[in-house]
Protein backbone atom coordinates (compact mmCIF):
# COMPACT_ATOMS: atom_id res chain seq x y z
CA UNK A 1 0.00 0.00 0.00
CA UNK A 2 1.78 3.02 -1.30
CA UNK A 3 -0.05 5.70 0.63
CA UNK A 4 1.23 4.82 4.08
CA UNK A 5 3.53 7.40 5.55
CA UNK A 6 7.15 6.79 4.70
CA UNK A 7 8.03 6.60 8.39
CA UNK A 8 6.57 3.12 8.28
CA UNK A 9 9.25 1.87 5.89
CA UNK A 10 12.22 0.23 7.49
CA UNK A 11 13.52 -1.11 4.18
CA UNK A 12 13.06 0.28 0.67
CA UNK A 13 14.35 -1.36 -2.51
CA UNK A 14 17.13 0.20 -4.61
CA UNK A 15 17.72 3.12 -2.33
CA UNK A 16 20.77 4.30 -0.47
CA UNK A 17 18.90 6.33 2.14
CA UNK A 18 18.99 5.38 5.80
CA UNK A 19 15.59 3.88 6.58
CA UNK A 20 13.52 5.90 9.02
CA UNK A 21 13.72 4.38 12.48
CA UNK A 22 11.33 6.56 14.42
CA UNK A 23 8.80 3.71 14.62
CA UNK A 24 11.26 0.99 15.46
CA UNK A 25 9.38 0.32 18.67
CA UNK A 26 6.49 -1.04 16.62
CA UNK A 27 5.57 -4.63 17.37
CA UNK A 28 6.34 -7.05 14.58
CA UNK A 29 3.33 -8.97 13.33
CA UNK A 30 3.11 -12.53 12.09
CA UNK A 31 0.66 -14.91 10.53
CA UNK A 32 0.76 -18.40 11.97
CA UNK A 33 -0.49 -21.22 9.74
CA UNK A 34 -1.14 -24.40 11.67
CA UNK A 35 -0.87 -27.01 8.94
CA UNK A 36 -2.05 -29.72 11.34
CA UNK A 37 -5.41 -27.99 11.66
CA UNK A 38 -6.01 -27.19 7.99
CA UNK A 39 -8.88 -29.04 6.29
CA UNK A 40 -8.12 -27.74 2.78
CA UNK A 41 -11.41 -25.90 2.29
CA UNK A 42 -9.76 -23.04 0.37
CA UNK A 43 -11.81 -20.42 2.18
CA UNK A 44 -8.56 -18.48 2.59
CA UNK A 45 -7.98 -18.54 -1.17
CA UNK A 46 -11.46 -17.24 -1.79
CA UNK A 47 -11.19 -14.57 0.89
CA UNK A 48 -7.87 -13.44 -0.59
CA UNK A 49 -9.45 -13.09 -4.03
CA UNK A 50 -12.42 -11.27 -2.58
CA UNK A 51 -10.56 -8.79 -0.40
CA UNK A 52 -7.86 -8.05 -2.95
CA UNK A 53 -10.38 -8.08 -5.80
CA UNK A 54 -8.48 -10.67 -7.87
CA UNK A 55 -9.80 -12.81 -10.71
CA UNK A 56 -7.43 -15.68 -11.48
CA UNK A 57 -7.91 -17.30 -14.86
CA UNK A 58 -9.98 -20.46 -15.07
CA UNK A 59 -7.72 -23.45 -15.67
CA UNK A 60 -7.90 -27.01 -16.98
CA UNK A 61 -7.89 -29.78 -14.36
CA UNK A 62 -4.28 -30.83 -13.79
CA UNK A 63 -4.89 -33.99 -11.77
CA UNK A 64 -4.51 -32.40 -8.38
CA UNK A 65 -6.57 -30.56 -5.80
CA UNK A 66 -4.28 -27.56 -6.31
CA UNK A 67 -6.43 -25.00 -8.06
CA UNK A 68 -5.03 -23.09 -9.88
CA UNK A 69 -2.00 -25.37 -10.17
CA UNK A 70 0.46 -22.62 -9.19
CA UNK A 71 0.62 -19.11 -7.81
CA UNK A 72 -0.16 -16.48 -10.46
CA UNK A 73 -0.15 -12.69 -10.59
CA UNK A 74 -3.74 -12.87 -9.36
CA UNK A 75 -3.43 -15.89 -7.07
CA UNK A 76 -1.52 -14.66 -4.07
CA UNK A 77 -2.20 -17.64 -1.85
CA UNK A 78 -2.68 -21.26 -2.83
CA UNK A 79 -3.50 -24.48 -1.01
CA UNK A 80 -0.92 -27.08 -1.97
CA UNK A 81 -1.96 -30.70 -1.39
CA UNK A 82 0.56 -33.49 -0.83
CA UNK A 83 -0.20 -37.18 -0.34
CA UNK A 84 2.57 -38.31 1.97
CA UNK A 85 3.25 -41.86 3.02
CA UNK A 86 4.74 -41.81 6.49
CA UNK A 87 7.25 -44.26 7.99
CA UNK A 88 4.54 -46.64 9.19
CA UNK A 89 3.09 -46.82 5.70
CA UNK A 90 0.04 -44.67 6.45
CA UNK A 91 -1.12 -41.95 4.11
CA UNK A 92 -1.06 -38.39 5.38
CA UNK A 93 -2.72 -35.60 3.50
CA UNK A 94 -0.53 -32.57 3.96
CA UNK A 95 -2.16 -29.30 3.01
CA UNK A 96 -0.05 -26.18 3.06
CA UNK A 97 -1.28 -22.69 2.36
CA UNK A 98 1.49 -21.28 0.14
CA UNK A 99 2.23 -17.59 -0.33
CA UNK A 100 4.69 -14.90 0.59
CA UNK A 101 6.55 -15.64 3.83
CA UNK A 102 7.36 -11.97 4.52
CA UNK A 103 11.02 -12.64 5.34
CA UNK A 104 12.75 -10.46 7.87
CA UNK A 105 15.60 -10.24 5.32
CA UNK A 106 13.65 -10.19 2.03
CA UNK A 107 15.55 -11.50 -1.00
CA UNK A 108 13.07 -9.85 -3.38
CA UNK A 109 13.79 -6.45 -1.89
CA UNK A 110 17.51 -7.06 -2.04
CA UNK A 111 17.34 -7.94 -5.75
CA UNK A 112 14.87 -5.21 -6.81
CA UNK A 113 16.44 -2.44 -8.97
CA UNK A 114 13.45 -0.04 -8.88
CA UNK A 115 13.56 2.49 -6.02
CA UNK A 116 10.65 1.95 -3.67
CA UNK A 117 9.02 -0.85 -5.63
CA UNK A 118 9.46 -3.22 -2.67
CA UNK A 119 9.24 -1.96 0.89
CA UNK A 120 9.22 -3.46 4.34
CA UNK A 121 7.16 -1.82 7.04
CA UNK A 122 8.20 -1.52 10.65
CA UNK A 123 5.72 -4.28 11.51
CA UNK A 124 7.69 -6.64 9.23
CA UNK A 125 5.28 -6.85 6.28
CA UNK A 126 7.02 -6.90 2.87
CA UNK A 127 4.95 -5.13 0.24
CA UNK A 128 5.18 -4.57 -3.53
CA UNK A 129 4.41 -1.00 -4.59
CA UNK A 130 3.02 -1.66 -8.05
CA UNK A 131 3.33 1.80 -9.56
CA UNK A 132 7.11 1.76 -8.98
CA UNK A 133 7.54 -1.81 -10.29
CA UNK A 134 9.30 -2.01 -13.68
CA UNK A 135 8.56 -5.70 -14.34
CA UNK A 136 12.15 -6.95 -14.60
CA UNK A 137 11.57 -10.13 -12.59
CA UNK A 138 14.61 -9.66 -10.34
CA UNK A 139 12.38 -10.25 -7.27
CA UNK A 140 11.68 -13.73 -8.64
CA UNK A 141 15.43 -14.41 -8.62
CA UNK A 142 15.86 -12.94 -5.14
CA UNK A 143 13.04 -14.91 -3.50
CA UNK A 144 14.08 -18.13 -1.70
CA UNK A 145 10.46 -19.37 -1.71
CA UNK A 146 9.55 -18.93 -5.40
CA UNK A 147 6.64 -16.60 -4.66
CA UNK A 148 6.50 -13.44 -6.84
CA UNK A 149 4.77 -13.72 -10.22
CA UNK A 150 5.23 -11.15 -12.99
CA UNK A 151 2.11 -10.42 -15.01
CA UNK A 152 2.42 -10.73 -18.78
CA UNK A 153 -0.38 -8.19 -19.14
CA UNK A 154 0.73 -5.21 -17.06
CA UNK A 155 4.39 -6.20 -16.43
CA UNK A 156 4.08 -5.85 -12.66
CA UNK A 157 5.11 -8.34 -10.05
CA UNK A 158 2.54 -9.52 -7.54
CA UNK A 159 2.37 -11.47 -4.29
CA UNK A 160 0.58 -11.59 -0.94
CA UNK A 161 0.57 -8.21 0.86
CA UNK A 162 -0.31 -9.81 4.20
CA UNK A 163 -3.32 -7.53 3.74
CA UNK A 164 -1.12 -4.58 4.70
CA UNK A 165 -4.09 -2.30 4.07
CA UNK A 166 -6.25 -4.20 6.56
CA UNK A 167 -3.46 -4.60 9.10
CA UNK A 168 -2.64 -0.88 9.08
CA UNK A 169 -6.29 -0.31 10.03
CA UNK A 170 -6.23 -2.79 12.87
CA UNK A 171 -7.84 -5.69 11.01
CA UNK A 172 -6.50 -9.19 10.56
CA UNK A 173 -5.67 -10.45 7.02
CA UNK A 174 -8.65 -11.69 5.01
CA UNK A 175 -7.44 -15.31 4.98
CA UNK A 176 -7.22 -15.30 8.77
CA UNK A 177 -10.75 -13.96 9.10
CA UNK A 178 -12.15 -16.60 6.78
CA UNK A 179 -10.49 -19.70 8.23
CA UNK A 180 -13.20 -21.93 9.75
CA UNK A 181 -10.87 -24.10 11.85
CA UNK A 182 -8.60 -21.45 13.29
CA UNK A 183 -5.68 -22.91 11.38
CA UNK A 184 -4.60 -19.39 10.37
CA UNK A 185 -3.93 -16.95 13.18
CA UNK A 186 -2.59 -13.44 13.25
CA UNK A 187 -1.04 -11.25 15.92
CA UNK A 188 2.30 -10.03 17.17
CA UNK A 189 5.15 -12.28 16.24
CA UNK A 190 5.92 -12.89 19.93
CA UNK A 191 2.34 -13.96 20.65
CA UNK A 192 2.24 -16.21 17.60
CA UNK A 193 5.45 -17.91 18.62
CA UNK A 194 4.24 -18.64 22.13
CA UNK A 195 0.92 -19.88 20.73
CA UNK A 196 2.84 -22.11 18.34
CA UNK A 197 4.91 -23.51 21.21
CA UNK A 198 1.73 -24.65 22.96
CA UNK A 199 0.41 -26.23 19.80
CA UNK A 200 3.71 -27.98 19.11
CA UNK A 201 3.62 -29.46 22.61
CA UNK A 202 0.12 -30.73 21.96
CA UNK A 203 1.17 -32.33 18.70
CA UNK A 204 4.14 -33.99 20.35
CA UNK A 205 1.87 -35.45 23.00
CA UNK A 206 -0.26 -36.85 20.20
CA UNK A 207 2.72 -38.67 18.75
CA UNK A 208 4.12 -36.19 16.23
CA UNK A 209 7.54 -36.22 17.82
CA UNK A 210 9.06 -33.96 15.16
CA UNK A 211 6.34 -31.33 15.33
CA UNK A 212 7.74 -27.83 15.32
CA UNK A 213 7.58 -24.23 14.22
CA UNK A 214 8.83 -23.18 10.79
CA UNK A 215 10.44 -19.75 11.21
CA UNK A 216 13.65 -20.15 9.19
CA UNK A 217 16.59 -18.30 10.71
CA UNK A 218 18.50 -18.22 7.40
CA UNK A 219 16.27 -15.36 6.20
CA UNK A 220 16.18 -13.74 9.64
CA UNK A 221 12.90 -15.43 10.47
CA UNK A 222 9.63 -14.90 8.64
CA UNK A 223 6.42 -13.03 9.32
CA UNK A 224 4.43 -15.98 8.06
CA UNK A 225 5.18 -19.09 10.08
CA UNK A 226 3.98 -22.67 9.90
CA UNK A 227 3.28 -25.22 12.59
CA UNK A 228 4.35 -28.48 10.93
CA UNK A 229 3.78 -32.00 12.23
CA UNK A 230 7.04 -32.98 10.51
CA UNK A 231 9.20 -29.92 11.09
CA UNK A 232 12.32 -32.06 10.57
CA UNK A 233 11.51 -32.31 6.85
CA UNK A 234 9.67 -29.21 5.60
CA UNK A 235 10.24 -30.18 1.96
CA UNK A 236 7.57 -32.92 2.13
CA UNK A 237 5.04 -30.07 2.34
CA UNK A 238 4.96 -29.43 -1.43
CA UNK A 239 8.59 -28.35 -1.56
CA UNK A 240 8.75 -25.95 1.38
CA UNK A 241 12.52 -25.25 1.48
CA UNK A 242 14.37 -27.03 4.30
CA UNK A 243 16.91 -24.24 4.60
CA UNK A 244 15.65 -21.22 2.65
CA UNK A 245 18.32 -18.61 2.02
CA UNK A 246 19.01 -15.81 -0.41
CA UNK A 247 21.01 -17.43 -3.21
CA UNK A 248 24.77 -16.98 -3.13
CA UNK A 249 24.56 -15.71 -6.73
CA UNK A 250 22.11 -13.00 -5.72
CA UNK A 251 24.34 -12.13 -2.77
CA UNK A 252 27.36 -11.69 -5.03
CA UNK A 253 25.37 -9.82 -7.64
CA UNK A 254 23.71 -7.41 -5.23
CA UNK A 255 26.23 -7.38 -2.42
CA UNK A 256 29.80 -7.57 -3.66
CA UNK A 257 29.69 -6.58 -7.32
CA UNK A 258 27.60 -3.43 -7.01
CA UNK A 259 30.16 -1.39 -5.04
CA UNK A 260 33.15 -3.11 -6.67
CA UNK A 261 31.87 -2.24 -10.16
CA UNK A 262 31.33 1.41 -9.33
CA UNK A 263 34.83 1.56 -7.90
CA UNK A 264 36.34 -0.06 -11.00
CA UNK A 265 34.45 2.22 -13.39
CA UNK A 266 35.42 5.31 -11.41
CA UNK A 267 39.04 4.15 -11.27
CA UNK A 268 39.15 3.65 -15.04
CA UNK A 269 37.68 7.09 -15.71
CA UNK A 270 39.84 8.90 -13.17
CA UNK A 271 42.92 6.95 -14.25
CA UNK A 272 42.34 7.94 -17.89
CA UNK A 273 41.93 11.57 -16.91
CA UNK A 274 45.16 11.63 -14.94
CA UNK A 275 47.02 9.88 -17.73
CA UNK A 276 45.96 12.78 -19.88
CA UNK A 277 47.15 15.25 -17.24
CA UNK A 278 50.53 13.54 -16.84
CA UNK A 279 51.37 12.27 -20.35
CA UNK A 280 49.24 14.53 -22.50
CA UNK A 281 48.06 13.81 -26.03
CA UNK A 282 49.93 11.60 -28.45
CA UNK A 283 50.31 13.75 -31.55
CA UNK A 284 51.82 13.10 -34.95
CA UNK A 285 54.67 15.55 -35.53
CA UNK A 286 56.43 16.96 -38.59
CA UNK A 287 59.17 14.38 -38.27
CA UNK A 288 56.60 11.55 -38.68
CA UNK A 289 55.05 13.22 -41.71
CA UNK A 290 58.47 13.78 -43.30
CA UNK A 291 59.61 10.20 -42.69
CA UNK A 292 56.35 8.85 -44.06
CA UNK A 293 56.66 10.85 -47.24
CA UNK A 294 60.28 9.80 -47.66
CA UNK A 295 59.15 6.16 -47.58
CA UNK A 296 56.35 6.86 -50.03
CA UNK A 297 58.74 8.67 -52.40
CA UNK A 298 61.12 5.68 -52.30
CA UNK A 299 58.27 3.51 -53.52
CA UNK A 300 57.51 5.77 -56.45
CA UNK A 301 55.38 8.62 -55.22
CA UNK A 302 52.16 8.32 -53.36
CA UNK A 303 50.89 4.90 -52.47
Amino acid sequence: MADLQSQNYIRRSATTMTPPAVRNHEEEVAKLIDVSRCIGCKACQSACMEWNNLRPEMEEFKGSYDNPHDLTPSTWTLMRFTEYENDSGDLEWLIRKDGCMHCEDPGCLKACPAPGAIVQYANGIVDFVSDACIGCGYCVKGCPFNIPRVSQDDHKSYKCTLCSDRVSNGLEPACVKSCPTGAIMFGTKADMKSWADERVEELKERGFEHAGLYDPAEVGGTHVMYVLHHADKPSIYAGLPDKPHISLWVGLWKGVIKPAALLAIAAAAVGSFFHSVVAGPNETDDHDEAEARKLMADKGGRP
Binding site: I134, C136, H155, W249, A261, G280, P281, D285, P303
Partner: protein, 218 residues
Protein backbone atom coordinates in the same frame (compact mmCIF):
# COMPACT_ATOMS: atom_id res chain seq x y z
CA UNK B 1 40.56 20.07 -42.49
CA UNK B 2 39.71 18.55 -45.85
CA UNK B 3 41.17 15.22 -46.79
CA UNK B 4 44.73 15.79 -48.10
CA UNK B 5 45.61 14.18 -51.42
CA UNK B 6 48.04 11.73 -49.87
CA UNK B 7 45.79 10.73 -46.94
CA UNK B 8 45.22 7.04 -46.27
CA UNK B 9 41.83 5.43 -45.72
CA UNK B 10 41.76 4.01 -42.22
CA UNK B 11 38.11 2.97 -42.14
CA UNK B 12 35.71 2.57 -45.05
CA UNK B 13 32.31 4.26 -45.01
CA UNK B 14 30.61 0.93 -44.30
CA UNK B 15 32.95 0.32 -41.37
CA UNK B 16 32.34 3.77 -39.93
CA UNK B 17 28.55 3.60 -40.16
CA UNK B 18 28.68 0.11 -38.70
CA UNK B 19 30.96 1.28 -35.89
CA UNK B 20 28.79 4.24 -34.88
CA UNK B 21 25.57 2.23 -34.91
CA UNK B 22 27.32 -0.20 -32.57
CA UNK B 23 28.61 2.69 -30.46
CA UNK B 24 25.20 4.32 -30.20
CA UNK B 25 23.53 1.14 -29.03
CA UNK B 26 26.40 0.38 -26.70
CA UNK B 27 25.89 3.71 -24.97
CA UNK B 28 22.11 3.21 -24.78
CA UNK B 29 22.66 -0.24 -23.30
CA UNK B 30 25.23 1.04 -20.85
CA UNK B 31 23.00 3.86 -19.58
CA UNK B 32 19.89 1.70 -19.24
CA UNK B 33 21.90 -1.20 -17.85
CA UNK B 34 23.60 0.92 -15.20
CA UNK B 35 20.19 2.29 -14.20
CA UNK B 36 19.01 -1.26 -13.51
CA UNK B 37 22.29 -2.20 -11.84
CA UNK B 38 22.78 0.46 -9.19
CA UNK B 39 20.23 2.78 -7.55
CA UNK B 40 22.70 5.65 -7.93
CA UNK B 41 22.12 5.48 -11.68
CA UNK B 42 18.36 4.91 -11.63
CA UNK B 43 17.77 8.54 -12.66
CA UNK B 44 19.07 7.53 -16.11
CA UNK B 45 15.80 5.61 -16.57
CA UNK B 46 14.12 8.99 -17.31
CA UNK B 47 16.14 9.13 -20.54
CA UNK B 48 14.19 6.08 -21.65
CA UNK B 49 10.76 7.24 -20.59
CA UNK B 50 10.82 5.70 -17.12
CA UNK B 51 11.68 2.35 -15.56
CA UNK B 52 9.03 0.25 -17.30
CA UNK B 53 9.85 1.35 -20.85
CA UNK B 54 13.58 1.22 -20.13
CA UNK B 55 13.21 -2.37 -18.97
CA UNK B 56 11.24 -3.11 -22.13
CA UNK B 57 13.67 -1.56 -24.65
CA UNK B 58 16.99 -2.63 -23.12
CA UNK B 59 16.90 -6.19 -24.55
CA UNK B 60 15.91 -4.89 -27.98
CA UNK B 61 18.86 -2.52 -27.95
CA UNK B 62 20.92 -5.60 -27.17
CA UNK B 63 19.59 -7.43 -30.23
CA UNK B 64 20.52 -4.48 -32.47
CA UNK B 65 23.96 -4.29 -30.89
CA UNK B 66 24.66 -7.98 -31.42
CA UNK B 67 23.71 -7.75 -35.10
CA UNK B 68 25.73 -4.57 -35.59
CA UNK B 69 28.72 -5.85 -33.64
CA UNK B 70 28.74 -9.02 -35.72
CA UNK B 71 29.32 -6.75 -38.73
CA UNK B 72 32.38 -5.27 -37.01
CA UNK B 73 33.72 -8.71 -36.15
CA UNK B 74 33.42 -9.79 -39.78
CA UNK B 75 35.32 -6.69 -40.92
CA UNK B 76 37.99 -6.64 -38.24
CA UNK B 77 38.79 -10.17 -37.07
CA UNK B 78 41.52 -10.88 -39.64
CA UNK B 79 43.55 -7.85 -38.68
CA UNK B 80 43.12 -8.64 -34.98
CA UNK B 81 44.87 -12.02 -35.02
CA UNK B 82 47.59 -12.03 -32.39
CA UNK B 83 51.16 -11.77 -33.71
CA UNK B 84 54.56 -12.00 -32.11
CA UNK B 85 55.14 -8.24 -32.39
CA UNK B 86 52.00 -7.69 -30.31
CA UNK B 87 53.57 -9.41 -27.34
CA UNK B 88 56.73 -7.34 -27.85
CA UNK B 89 54.67 -4.19 -28.22
CA UNK B 90 52.93 -4.96 -24.91
CA UNK B 91 56.33 -5.34 -23.27
CA UNK B 92 57.10 -1.74 -24.17
CA UNK B 93 53.68 -0.40 -23.12
CA UNK B 94 55.45 2.00 -20.72
CA UNK B 95 57.01 3.86 -23.64
CA UNK B 96 53.71 3.91 -25.51
CA UNK B 97 51.93 5.39 -22.49
CA UNK B 98 54.59 8.12 -22.38
CA UNK B 99 53.99 8.98 -26.03
CA UNK B 100 57.47 7.74 -27.02
CA UNK B 101 56.75 5.41 -29.92
CA UNK B 102 60.27 5.37 -31.37
CA UNK B 103 61.92 2.04 -30.57
CA UNK B 104 58.57 0.36 -29.92
CA UNK B 105 58.05 -2.68 -32.20
CA UNK B 106 56.24 -1.75 -35.40
CA UNK B 107 52.65 -2.92 -35.50
CA UNK B 108 50.16 -3.65 -38.25
CA UNK B 109 46.68 -2.24 -38.69
CA UNK B 110 45.90 -2.74 -35.00
CA UNK B 111 48.19 -2.70 -31.98
CA UNK B 112 47.94 -5.06 -29.00
CA UNK B 113 45.78 -2.61 -27.07
CA UNK B 114 43.26 -2.39 -29.90
CA UNK B 115 43.32 -6.15 -30.27
CA UNK B 116 42.60 -6.42 -26.56
CA UNK B 117 39.56 -4.18 -27.00
CA UNK B 118 38.43 -6.24 -29.99
CA UNK B 119 38.78 -9.66 -28.39
CA UNK B 120 37.47 -8.45 -25.04
CA UNK B 121 34.30 -7.24 -26.72
CA UNK B 122 34.13 -10.27 -29.01
CA UNK B 123 34.23 -12.54 -25.96
CA UNK B 124 31.98 -10.59 -23.58
CA UNK B 125 29.24 -9.45 -25.97
CA UNK B 126 28.17 -13.06 -26.71
CA UNK B 127 28.14 -13.68 -22.94
CA UNK B 128 25.92 -10.63 -22.48
CA UNK B 129 23.68 -11.78 -25.31
CA UNK B 130 23.11 -15.30 -24.00
CA UNK B 131 22.73 -14.32 -20.33
CA UNK B 132 20.54 -11.42 -21.39
CA UNK B 133 18.16 -13.77 -23.18
CA UNK B 134 17.97 -15.95 -20.08
CA UNK B 135 16.90 -13.01 -17.88
CA UNK B 136 14.57 -11.47 -20.49
CA UNK B 137 11.52 -11.87 -18.27
CA UNK B 138 8.82 -11.21 -20.85
CA UNK B 139 9.85 -13.86 -23.38
CA UNK B 140 12.08 -16.23 -21.47
CA UNK B 141 10.96 -15.85 -17.84
CA UNK B 142 9.73 -19.45 -17.80
CA UNK B 143 12.25 -20.92 -20.26
CA UNK B 144 14.90 -21.69 -17.63
CA UNK B 145 14.97 -22.41 -13.90
CA UNK B 146 15.15 -19.54 -11.44
CA UNK B 147 18.57 -20.79 -10.32
CA UNK B 148 19.84 -20.56 -13.92
CA UNK B 149 18.46 -17.04 -14.11
CA UNK B 150 20.28 -16.07 -10.92
CA UNK B 151 23.59 -17.19 -12.35
CA UNK B 152 22.79 -15.49 -15.65
CA UNK B 153 22.02 -12.21 -13.88
CA UNK B 154 25.34 -12.39 -12.06
CA UNK B 155 27.30 -13.20 -15.23
CA UNK B 156 25.41 -10.51 -17.15
CA UNK B 157 26.43 -7.83 -14.66
CA UNK B 158 30.04 -9.06 -14.51
CA UNK B 159 30.35 -9.10 -18.30
CA UNK B 160 28.68 -5.68 -18.47
CA UNK B 161 31.24 -4.21 -16.10
CA UNK B 162 33.94 -5.81 -18.23
CA UNK B 163 32.71 -4.20 -21.45
CA UNK B 164 32.21 -0.83 -19.75
CA UNK B 165 35.81 -0.87 -18.53
CA UNK B 166 37.00 -1.84 -22.02
CA UNK B 167 34.82 0.91 -23.46
CA UNK B 168 36.36 3.53 -21.17
CA UNK B 169 39.85 2.50 -22.31
CA UNK B 170 38.67 2.49 -25.94
CA UNK B 171 37.15 5.99 -25.75
CA UNK B 172 40.08 7.44 -23.83
CA UNK B 173 42.62 5.97 -26.25
CA UNK B 174 40.72 7.51 -29.15
CA UNK B 175 40.87 10.91 -27.47
CA UNK B 176 44.48 10.47 -26.38
CA UNK B 177 45.95 9.44 -29.74
CA UNK B 178 45.17 12.50 -31.87
CA UNK B 179 43.85 11.69 -35.31
CA UNK B 180 42.01 8.56 -34.16
CA UNK B 181 38.64 10.26 -33.87
CA UNK B 182 38.97 11.62 -37.40
CA UNK B 183 39.96 8.15 -38.56
CA UNK B 184 36.59 6.83 -37.37
CA UNK B 185 34.49 9.92 -38.11
CA UNK B 186 35.86 10.92 -41.53
CA UNK B 187 37.73 7.72 -42.29
CA UNK B 188 41.21 8.96 -43.15
CA UNK B 189 44.60 9.49 -41.51
CA UNK B 190 47.74 11.32 -42.61
CA UNK B 191 50.76 9.26 -43.74
CA UNK B 192 52.61 10.55 -40.68
CA UNK B 193 49.90 9.21 -38.38
CA UNK B 194 50.13 5.79 -40.00
CA UNK B 195 53.93 5.93 -39.88
CA UNK B 196 53.94 6.86 -36.21
CA UNK B 197 51.33 4.47 -34.83
CA UNK B 198 50.99 1.61 -37.29
CA UNK B 199 54.22 1.54 -39.25
CA UNK B 200 53.89 -2.06 -40.37
CA UNK B 201 50.44 -1.33 -41.73
CA UNK B 202 51.79 1.82 -43.39
CA UNK B 203 54.65 -0.12 -45.00
CA UNK B 204 52.23 -2.76 -46.30
CA UNK B 205 50.11 -0.07 -47.93
CA UNK B 206 53.16 1.60 -49.48
CA UNK B 207 54.45 -1.77 -50.72
CA UNK B 208 51.24 -2.54 -52.56
CA UNK B 209 50.47 1.02 -53.59
CA UNK B 210 47.22 0.86 -51.63
CA UNK B 211 45.21 3.78 -50.29
CA UNK B 212 43.99 1.66 -47.37
CA UNK B 213 42.39 0.42 -45.30
CA UNK B 214 44.05 -2.90 -46.24
CA UNK B 215 46.93 -3.73 -48.57
CA UNK B 216 45.75 -4.22 -52.15
CA UNK B 217 42.54 -2.26 -51.61
CA UNK B 218 42.31 0.72 -53.93
Amino acid sequence: MNRPKDALTRNSTVTRVNHWITGLFFVLLMLSGLAMFHPGFFFLSYLFGGGQSMRAVHPWFGIVLVISFTGLVIQFWRDNRWRREDTEWLASIGKVLNNQEEGVPEVGRFNAGQKGVFWGMALLIPVLFVTGLVIWEYYFGHATSVETQRIAALLHSLAAIGVILIWIVHVYAALWVKGSMRAMLRGWVTPGWAYRHHRKWFRSLVETGSNGPTPNSK
